[in-house]
Subunit: 313 residues, 2 copies
């Protein structure tokens, strides 16, 4: 197996000023780097000028959600929202910038997220951003937590309950731990407990599934080979194993942040409690309202950090 | 291991009239089915009236590409293009309808495609479409084929060169063959040879990678633990094993079509020859032009089939 960077404690991830040390020696020999899926590049854009002040990179599934998060952050930070989509020309993702906050769509699933994170990590590196935190703010199915609960991921596991991502590189299996930054998890739990008393919150293990239907033991996909009882038994087994929610990106988000030496957190709202059913049947308006809950927690964290930076100056 | 439907020859996939028999007994007990990521449903929409005439379901990565394909098909079939995005309310995918052709975005990667295919297969079933063919028209990196080559997939393999998709269902590994419909492959090869003489075409094995960078042995991701020589050796090994291209959706597309009993084909244009480099550096205009090549082949096939149906009547 290839050397697993994330488990090597001697690696230095940051310079003294908090800027990222990139873990790819080949980048130095590129005359320019085209971040293809972002439609940004080191030659076409002055990345340090455009993005050097970024401190928080927030990612989520849909354009609608990440645009509304950008608008919300503009309001929270008293910054005018310019509505500019920085990655529009790529036709892949959308990216909005509000002062020190980037709000970016990642699409659905580990592969779509992976492309984005590779290019965002390179962006943060080329732009010489300092002490950057990454957050995924998303939606999930709850396991034993009620609809509307905000779930903070402690570690992500795959469908075999293994706490690592698995990639095939040069025809070999490469595994990387998918444990979140526990200090950041504690900080978010503290803020949620202190400052979001009316909203149910939970933390624990997140199962990252490869699909929405069969891997999540849903009975309503185009195929299904399991019985209703097998589904219930399985979801109860997950609950007993400490799984609090299921989504489709956590394992890649956690392992890539860790491999890059970036502090990362995953905050998702449960759109339903899977122990009660499979279909997401609430009104669109109510589901849209629920999706603002992880945004609220992220915003409270960002404002707290920014206030701390101000005090330190 | 759970019974693998795709390898059971006795399963009946179609009624006498060519409509699909869905491989999920639970759907019968649903009072209504909400195709959540399409923003369509059996209660909210009269699916047989709206989509019953669909014969070709074409999917591809980006909104831009699938909208331009829909416009192209409208022109080819002499139908007015109405520009209506049927899944707009989902904020996930885009879907355009041009007579018997659906043109739908799938985002990037196996998970995003999987959600779409589950819901498209259910759509085709509820709408009572007959003799439907699914096609993925996309982009890829070529292995030993030049930029601009149109590649038809014969079988899809994963990063360990295994010809099956792998899902974790109820905590167990489930594998499903990812071989394409060989008759359809032959038909497309014939059309390409007869009717697209100026455009290079190839067919063979498609490697479906989990990410764009490390799994594809690129040296320009945010991390890289391999040397330039290891990359070259690996890509040459792939070529020797019959791999003609690398993309990120084929294994799920092929195995889901097969599991559903749907004839499916994958047609991708090579945006670069990976034996020559990693970065996609051509002009956007030229890359956009290349992306029309799989569309041309799909359109020729669709027109041929429609002419055959007309003759049969």
């Amino acid at each position: 197996m290839i050397q697993n960077r994330a488990s090597v404690v001697s690696i230095v991830f940051h310079s003294n000023d908090g800027s990222l040390i990139i873990q790819n020696p080949h980048l130095k020999s590129l005359s320019s780097d085209n971040l293809y899926h972002l439609a940004l590049g080191t030659e076409s854009h002055d990345l340090p000028v455009l993005f050097g002040d970024v401190k928080f990179v927030c990612v989520g599934g849909t354009n609608q959600r990440m645009k509304s998060f950008a608008q919300y952050m503009a309001n929270q930070l008293n910054i005018e929202f310019d509505n500019k989509d920085w990655t529009k020309a790529s036709h892949r993702y959308s990216m909005f910038k509000v002062g020190p906050v980037l709000s970016v769509t990642h699409g659905m699933g580990i592969s779509s997220l992976s492309i984005l994170l590779h290019e965002l990590i390179k962006l943060v590196y080329y732009a010489k951003c300092k002490n950057v935190v990454f957050m995924r703010i998303g939606t999930c199915g709850g396991i034993g937590v009620e609809q509307g609960t905000v779930v903070i991921t402690e570690k992500a596991v795959d469908g075999l309950l293994r706490p690592f991502s698995e990639l095939y590189i040069l025809g070999k299996v490469v595994r990387r731990p998918s444990i979140c930054d526990q200090e950041l998890v504690s900080e978010l739990k503290f803020i949620a407990a202190e400052d979001m008393v009316d909203i149910p919150t939970a933390s624990g293990t997140t199962l990252c599934a490869l699909d929405f239907y069969e891997s999540q033991a849903r009975l309503d996909g185009a195929f299904c080979d399991i019985t209703a009882q097998e589904k219930v038994d399985y979801l109860n087994q997950l609950k007993a194993a400490g799984v609090v929610n299921i989504e489709m990106e956590a394992i890649t988000f956690a392992s890539m942040c860790r491999s890059a030496g970036i502090s990362g957190a995953i905050i998702c709202v449960a759109l339903l409690n899977r122990l009660n059913g499979d279909q997401i049947a609430s009104t669109k308006e109510y589901l849209d309202e629920l999706q603002t809950r992880p945004q609220m927690l992220a915003a409270k964290f960002i404002r707290k950090r920014l206030a701390e930076y101000k005090t330190q100056k």
